[in-house]
Structures are given as C-alpha cells and as structure tokens.
Amino acid sequence: MEHAESPSADKVVRSYLAQLGLELEGADAALRHDAIIDAEQHLRAAIAAGATAEMAVAEYGTPAEIARAYLDAEHEPRSWHITPATAATSNSSARAPVDVSAVSKHQRLRDIPIIGVWFDRRAWGAVVYFGAVGFVLSLAYFVWSVTIGSLAIGLAPILIGVPLVVLLLGSARAICLFEGKVVEFFLGVRMPRRTQPVQGADHIGFWQRIWCWLRDVRSWLSLGFLLGNFPVSVVTFAVTFTLAVTSLALVVIPVVHLLGHPIANVSGDDADIMFMGTQLVPDAAGDVWLTVPLAVASLAIGLALATGTLWLARGFGWVYGHVVQAIQVARPHPMNPPKIR
C-alpha cells in the first residue's frame, strides 16, 4: 500500500495541486484555496485508503475539469433548487427561483458611472463596517491580544507563559476566522469555505501538535493582524465616520429648511452663525434660516461628499477584505512546479 507520506506519492499530489492552482490562476484566491484544500485532503485520503497516487489523481479528474467545476459552481445561479415537480407543490418554505431580470436591473444600476456606488451593497456595508462595527471589533481584538500577550511575556520565566502563548495564538487564529465571516458579510470579499489544516499536524500527539501550531506562519500572521489592525481601524473609523456624518449633516440641513423649520435658534445679540463660509443673521425670534442658494449648495456638496465617502469606504473594504483573505489562504509551503498540460 502506498502511503500519502511516501516521497513519490507526495510528489504526485503536490504536482497535481500545483497544476490545479495554475488552472485557477486569476480566479478568486479563496476559491483557489478551497479547490486546493479539497483536492489535497481527498487525494491523501484516497492514498491512505490504498489507492496509488496516480490512480487517485486520475479518478479525481484533470486539473482543468476540476477548475471548471469550481468556477461553474461559483458563478452559475442555482435555479435547479425548484424542480418542476416541487414547483407545483412547494410550500412557503421553498425558496423562490432567481429573478434574473431583477438581478440584471440591479447590476445595471451599479454600473452607472460614479453614482452607481449608491446601489452597491458592498459600499454601504463598508460604511457600516468602518464607521462602527470594525472599530469596536478591532478594539476588542487588540485589548485581548495585548492583555494575554503581556501576561504570557511576564509569566514566561515561570513557564505559565507558555500555555498562554498557545492560548494567544489559538485565539488569534479563531478570531481571524471570525473576522473573515464578518468581513465577508459587510465587505463582500469571499473567504475560504474550507479551513486549512495545520501543516504536519496529522498522526501526532498533543505536544507535537502545539509545536506545529507555533511553527505555522498563519498563527503569527493572525496575531500580527490583530495587533496591526487596531491602528488601521482607528484611521479608517475616523475618516469614514467624519465624512459620513458631515455629508449627512449637509444633506439634512437644507431638507430641514425646506420642511419649514429653522436650522437653529439663537438668543443674544452677538450670536454669530457661520454656514459654509457665509454669515447667517437670525430673525427677530432668533431663528436662523438658510438662503435658497446656500440650501442648494449644501445639498449638492452633501450628496457629492456622500458619493465620495461611499467610494472611499468601498476602496477601504476591497483592500482590507483582501488582506484578511490573504491571511486565511496563506500556505506554509508554497508550491511552484512547472505547469503541465
């Protein structure tokens, strides 16, 4: 029986995985990661069950076929869900078929130059994420990491620090996985569906497994992310929150004016209200009103600023999401064999 760990079988598996990776070059990194992890686990299980590496690879399918299957599954709408037989008898729990016309209409709205971002769910998700959720989460991650990390360093001389380091690295990996789910929900960047097993941690005992964890680059990448994420999130929070609130205020103030309400009420003779560089004089009752040109200018600037904020948040989201994705798909042993067709 050929074992997965035998050098020749391992070479065949690695070569196959590398070819599959090359077939999926240009595809989403998380999709590529899933395809490789699925193939690796399947092939190693097949070889462990007694198949030769060549046979396991042949039965699995050529890299081109498998890459096509992953790409098709990712991009095709699954309207198969309601079959003709079920459509007639389905109850309210059955999902409605995909409305292709609604999808394309939404797509067309998103494709409008510049203002299409108003119809992009990822942009709004990014504003919520960077303006609130992400900041709170990164603060919590940072406090946890610094607290446990400080304890681990302080207690290292009496060995209690060692399990704390393991706890810290384990929690960092778990938090990173959780963060991936949050990022996927708010920012729309796909995260891997398969968790990558710790390299070399099969067939070994508890302490060796811990050692593998300590050596695994993803543990340290995750910890680095938790620590480095905090200052980044402070900046993105400050920028996103400030811009969002400012644009909201600029849009709301003229609307308040149009609804017949004063934008402010002041008392005292020396009240001095400045709005967009223009001094506004209160009336006899102390109410402050916008002029029509100022109201129009405020509305226009507010909408333009909101559009810019959405674009900026979407940009932040794209970069940030792909950094989180890169940590999750990082492989401890990169494979770069030549492409075989």
Binding site: H42, A48, Y60, A69, D72, R78
Partner: protein
C-alpha cells in the same frame, strides 16, 4: 453526432444526475458521511464506461450546503485532519424526494421514447 455536442449533452446529463445521486448517497448513510466516502461509493457503483470525476463532488457539496440542502460538521479523524462530514437537512430530504419522483417519471418517459428506435421498450 459531432464530439463537442456529445460532450455537452453528457455534461448536462451528468450534472443533473450527479446532484441526485449525491443527495441520495448522503441520505442513505446511517451516520454523517465525508466527501471522500461519498466519492468512493459513487465511483464503486458507477456503471462501466460512465466516468465520475470525484473532484467535481466538492463544489457540488458546497453549493448544496449554501442552499441549505445539506449541513456539515467537522469530525475528528484518526487518519489525518478533521473531516467535514455531511447530513441531509429536512429541505434536502424534501428536494431529494421530489427529484426521485421526477427522475422515475423521466426515466419511464425516456425509455418509452427510446424503445421506439432500439426496441428496449
């Protein structure tokens, strides 16, 4: 028939039937079943000449999970890392039953029509 059309027809037929047999393989398993075991069973039972590419199973399982037809749990394995094992959900069972019915009636209909040209009626 040109080979590319034959390939296309085979692909279309394989996709539809693969969904059905994968759901059936999960349904008949007494305990949660992992991807490799499903692939092995399907390959063992595949008729001669019909090739089932085992690697196409995993994106299929992922789509099924995303649609709520199956649910997965990680189960520790003595032979390697923890394995993702699948069970059918209530929705998955409902879809499988409906598909079985559709398959049986389609099968009858196709056989009846084909009987007219090769005597298999």
């Amino acid at each position: 028939m040109p080979p590319d059309i034959a390939d296309k027809l085979l692909r279309d037929l394989s996709l539809g039937t693969a969904w059905l047999v994968v759901l059936a393989a999960i349904a008949r398993a007494a305990t949660p079943i992992h991807g490799y075991e499903i692939a092995r069973q399907l390959a063992d039972e595949a008729p001669e000449g019909l090739s089932f590419k085992q690697g196409t199973l995993y994106p299929m399982l992922r789509s099924m999970e995303a649609d709520g037809l199956v649910k997965s749990t990680l189960i520790a394995s003595h032979e390697g890392p923890a394995r993702k094992c699948f069970t059918l959900t209530a929705e998955g069972r409902r879809v499988l039953n409906a598909w079985c019915e559709t398959w049986r009636s389609t099968n009858k209909w196709v056989n009846r029509v084909l009987g007219g040209i090769d005597g298999t009626r």
